[in-house]
């Protein structure tokens, strides 16, 4: 059994357990969307303290990025009826270009936590308003986030709060705020839900903002978790935050997101962190830093102990190739892999873990990797060129190419057999009879693209 104190203490490299390329890759995958070759090199060179600071603090976004992204999200370019694909593509673009990947990563975590889908909301402006709420608190206060979520326009539509009446309250939000957003099943009663539903009456959307209409609100006394009062929705959020189960519930979810899907942590491991989170009044940034700096985060039990989400798979691949990808086709491809941003399958969000992979989505991943690396796919091919990448990094021989690719995408975590097979392929592909009109460069590029695709189909690459 792991000593909780030691587990959460900051990691410090030792000669037996040094700071290396694998740890840099691990940090960039979990705290962001994966590393480029130069980020991996810099991470090793700069050492663990500097690299952790860099990843945790991020850098300010460039003016150009902020202006363009904001403009694309303005009502003029993204009206309420904008198609789903444009919404997802907008966020994918941010993930690809941001200088603070950790913040976008945690925004994705909270999007999955407060899983709201435009399939029902049908209003891109509301979805973006919710994105801004989440993004501004992603590494901030969960108290604020949970409280404000109760009157967020997209959420009001998504869980029907905006049609709930004093005479006949709708229980949808009251249930999910306890079951999925703060406490988890087993920490409240059906009576708590019915009482809390009365507190969430009278909320409506005016001029794109959620407000409480006192005349439609049930102002009488309610009893929730054994406490009585004339509660409003905000009061219910407070009661949930004060509930014993709240911090633990969120900490467990973040553990699964940042550390491991492969095990269910013991209460002894979770409790000290939950206590810290509660005492900090739900300061998520501080809490995430503790997790990402910890011994446990860098322990072998956490290493590749997650399945990549489709977004991690796609963004990580494009980033590592130092390429450009049209995020509209990328968003479309991600649908086949089971992850549409701003449209999770249900209020529980994406299940994650092993649920990401099935026969269809696995083929989808292989085929997306192919599309990104091949010239034959008009959507991505010419702009994510492994040949150019290899040239940029002075890769001259087949053996160097294989080692470079395995180092870039897997930090060498592939069995020796895989390396041999990739080299064998490159050898075979030299002997193949190519069309007469192919130049030597065409052949060389084809081999580079093909072998890159093969690396991306290795089972290890599915792990985060």
């Amino acid at each position: 059994m792991l000593d909780p104190k030691l587990a959460w203490a900051p990691f410090a490299p030792t000669p037996q357990n040094p700071w290396d390329r694998a740890k840099v890759g691990h940090l960039y995958r979990r705290a962001g969307f994966g590393a480029t070759a130069s980020e991996l090199d810099a991470g090793v060179k700069d050492g663990h303290a500097k690299t952790l600071d860099r990843v945790l603090n991020g850098a300010p976004e460039s003016e150009d990025f902020t202006r363009t992204s904001d403009f694309m999200a303005s009502e003029r370019s993204m009206p309420p009826g904008a198609p789903q694909g444009r919404l997802s593509a907008w966020w994918l673009d941010r993930m690809l270009k941001t200088r603070h990947p950790l913040r976008e990563k945690l925004t994705l975590f909270w999007h999955n936590h407060f899983a709201t889908s435009n399939a029902k909301v049908q209003n891109a402006c509301f979805m973006l308003t919710q994105y801004r709420l989440i993004q501004s608190h992603a590494l901030g206060s969960f108290r604020e986030l949970l409280t404000k979520m109760g009157s967020d326009p997209a959420m009001l539509v998504w869980l029907d709060t905006n049609t709930s009446t004093k005479a006949a309250p709708n229980e949808n939000y009251a249930r999910e705020v306890m079951e999925l957003f703060s406490l988890g099943v087993g920490n409240y009663t059906e009576a708590d839900i019915r009482q809390a539903a009365r507190a969430f009456t009278g909320y409506e959307i005016k001029d794109g903002k959620g407000t409480l209409n006192r005349r439609q609100h049930d102002t009488s006394e309610k009893e929730v978790f054994g406490k009585k009062g004339k509660f409003t929705g905000e009061d219910i959020a407070k009661l949930c935050l004060d509930h014993d189960a709240c911090a633990r519930f969120i900490v467990r979810k973040l553990y699964r997101f940042l550390i491991s899907e492969a095990d269910t942590p013991d209460a002894k491991l979770i409790d000290p962190l939950a206590e810290q989170y509660r005492k900090s009044d739900f300061d998520t940034g501080k809490f995430v830093a503790t997790m990402l700096r910890s011994n446990l985060f860098f322990a072998s039990s956490s290493y590749r102990a997650k399945i990549k989400s489709p977004v991690e798979f796609a963004i990580g691949t494009v980033r590592a190739l130092e390429g450009v990808a049209g995020t509209l086709p990328l968003a479309e491809a991600l649908e086949g892999l089971g992850q549409v941003l701003f449209a999770p399958p249900s209020v529980k969000g994406w299940d994650g873990g092993e649920a990401w992979l099935n026969a269809q989505t696995l083929l989808g991943r292989n085929n997306l990797a192919l599309a990104i690396t091949s010239t034959e796919d008009a959507r991505f091919g010419s702009r994510c060129d492994p040949g150019q990448l290899a040239a940029k990094h002075d890769i001259a021989t087949d053996a160097k190419l294989v080692d470079f690719l395995l180092g870039l995408f897997l930090q060498g975590d592939a069995p020796q057999g895989a390396r041999t097979k990739l080299l064998d392929y490159l050898k075979t592909a030299k002997g193949v009879k190519y069309p007469a009109y192919w130049s030597d460069d065409d052949v060389a590029n084809h081999r580079k693209r093909a072998v890159t695709h093969l690396v991306l189909t290795l089972p290890e690459y599915q792990l985060n």
């Binding site: 029907d160 049609t163 009446t165 006949a168 309250p169 709708n170 229980e171 949808n172 249930r175 079951e179 099943v185 059906e190 839900i193 899907e261 492969a262 590749r304 102990a305 086949g336 089971g338 992850q339 549409v340 999770p344 399958p345 249900s346 994406w350 299940d351 092993e354 992979l357 099935n358 026969a359 269809q360 989505t361 696995l362 083929l363 292989n366 085929n367 192919l370 091949s374 034959e376 069995p415 895989a418 097979k421 064998d424 392929y425 075979t428 592909a429 193949v432 190519y434 069309p435 192919w438 084809h446 693209r449 093909a450 695709h453 093969l454 290795l458 089972p459 290890e460 599915q462 792990l463």
Partner: protein, 411 residues
């Protein structure tokens, strides 16, 4: 059309060589063929109505005054109901299913199905139905466990956003999820057959797992192997399937049409799992028409077309379609002209060998428990019937003791 011989030729293990593990060889590839004498070749198609189907507006107690009192704006009027008995009838959107009931005697309606102390959480209750258990931690599904005893090939016919259901977890070989035959292919950029073969060899020959292999990596490797084998297998199935009857245009109908194609291809597939989402009708669900009615139309018309297509191809007696939802909805409507989470609801079984009729009583509207309908039949009694009588798997180790199978199949 694909003949069985085509299939046997095309599904040979060439290309997978020695890497196909023994468990796969025993199951996906060695399924009893439909024509093999003595082989039981029943097919089960589970249709999941996700979100909590409003059972009270599905099988309507149209002579009950309380029903109309509880639902002032969303009740279905007596003269619109498709009568099943003197007291209950189907929602008017389910005309196609009603016709299968009256004209073809191919529908069994089990009323008031649920379980004790029902959870009103979508996710917990769905897990209970999938695992056929109310234990706190649920990791294996009722069908996955059945596949251990009776390892027949199956498919989860999925939508893009849908993950493999818990019901299928625990199977010795992962039941593949597929969305369409067209997309179910491993693609490669290759200029020649030799190049393609060389690439394919790298992709499909992952290193064998050892006891040292971490569980997640082993999971990925097994999923890959199973996927490449299935993809190879399905590549042989004819691209053009012409149904015997027209199917409506809906996602559910497309999935069932794909099931029909796979059943008719004669590759021994006997289990299908499909879902249709949207039944969480908290607001504006409508009555005889509207959102809920549209969902019921899709279910009724898709299942009806599927059944008639299968009858047309001689598979009618082999087929059993079973519907379920994680719970029914509150007996009384809420202020949003919808219904909140409730408890018991009806299940449908459709097929050439089901005992057509209405089983069990309609739940009492006088004896509500906290506004919810109390179940008369435990869902595990229906599962027991399906397992024992349809899949030929002993139900006791799966659903537990004390669940007497209900009579849903013809003698």
């Amino acid at each position: 059309m694909t003949t069985r011989r085509d299939f046997l030729r095309d599904s040979s293990l060439l290309g997978f060589g020695a890497t196909v593990p023994a468990f796969l060889g025993r199951t996906a590839y060695s399924a009893p063929l439909a024509a093999k004498p003595g082989a039981r070749d029943t097919v089960l198609v589970v249709v999941q109505l996700t979100g909590g189907n409003d059972g009270l507006n599905t099988v309507v107690p149209f002579t009950n005054a309380d029903y109309y009192k509880l639902r002032p704006t969303i009740a279905v009027a007596k003269d619109q109901v498709k009568k099943l008995t003197d007291d209950v009838g189907l929602h008017p959107a389910m005309g196609a299913l009603a016709k299968l009931y009256t004209d073809d005697s191919a529908v069994c309606v089990v009323q008031g199905v649920g379980y004790p102390n029902p959870s009103q959480s979508h996710f917990r209750s769905m897990d209970v139905w999938h695992a056929a258990s109310t234990a706190e931690t649920l990791t294996a599904g009722w069908l996955g466990t059945a596949l251990k005893k009776q390892p027949v090939p199956g498919f989860h016919l999925a939508s893009g956003n849908e993950t493999s259901p818990l019901a299928l977890a625990g199977a010795p070989v992962r039941v593949p999820s597929i969305t369409s035959l067209d997309d179910f292919k491993l693609k490669m950029v290759s200029v020649t057959g030799a190049d393609a073969a060389a690439q394919k060899n790298v992709i499909t020959s992952s290193a064998p797992s050892t006891s040292e292999t971490p569980a997640l990596l082993d999971f990925v490797a097994r999923t890959q192997m199973n996927t490449y084998a299935s993809s190879e297998k399905l590549a042989s199935i004819g691209k053009n399937y012409t149904p015997k009857v027209p199917y409506p245009t809906s996602a559910l109908a497309n999935k069932l049409k794909l099931a029909a194609q796979l059943i008719d291809a004669g590759i021994g597939t006997r289990l299908f799992y499909v879902s249709i989402d949207g039944f969480d009708t908290h607001a504006g669900q409508g009555g005889a028409t509207g959102a809920h009615a549209n969902l019921l139309t899709q279910v009724s018309e898709a299942i009806s077309a599927f059944y008639r297509d299968m009858v047309g191809r001689g598979h009618g007696k082999r087929l059993c379609v079973m519907t379920f939802s994680e719970f029914g909805r509150r007996a009384y409507e809420n202020g949003s002209k919808g219904t909140d989470h409730g408890a018991s609801a009806p299940m449908f079984l459709v097929g050439g060998n089901v005992k057509s009729g209405v089983v069990g009583d309609h739940p009492s509207l006088k004896g509500l428990k906290e506004g919810n309908l109390v179940h008369g039949t435990d869902f595990r009694q229906v599962y027991a019937a399906v397992l024992d009588r349809w899949l030929d798997v002993d139900s006791k180790p799966i659903v537990g003791d004390g669940f007497k199978a209900v009579e849903v199949f013809a003698k």
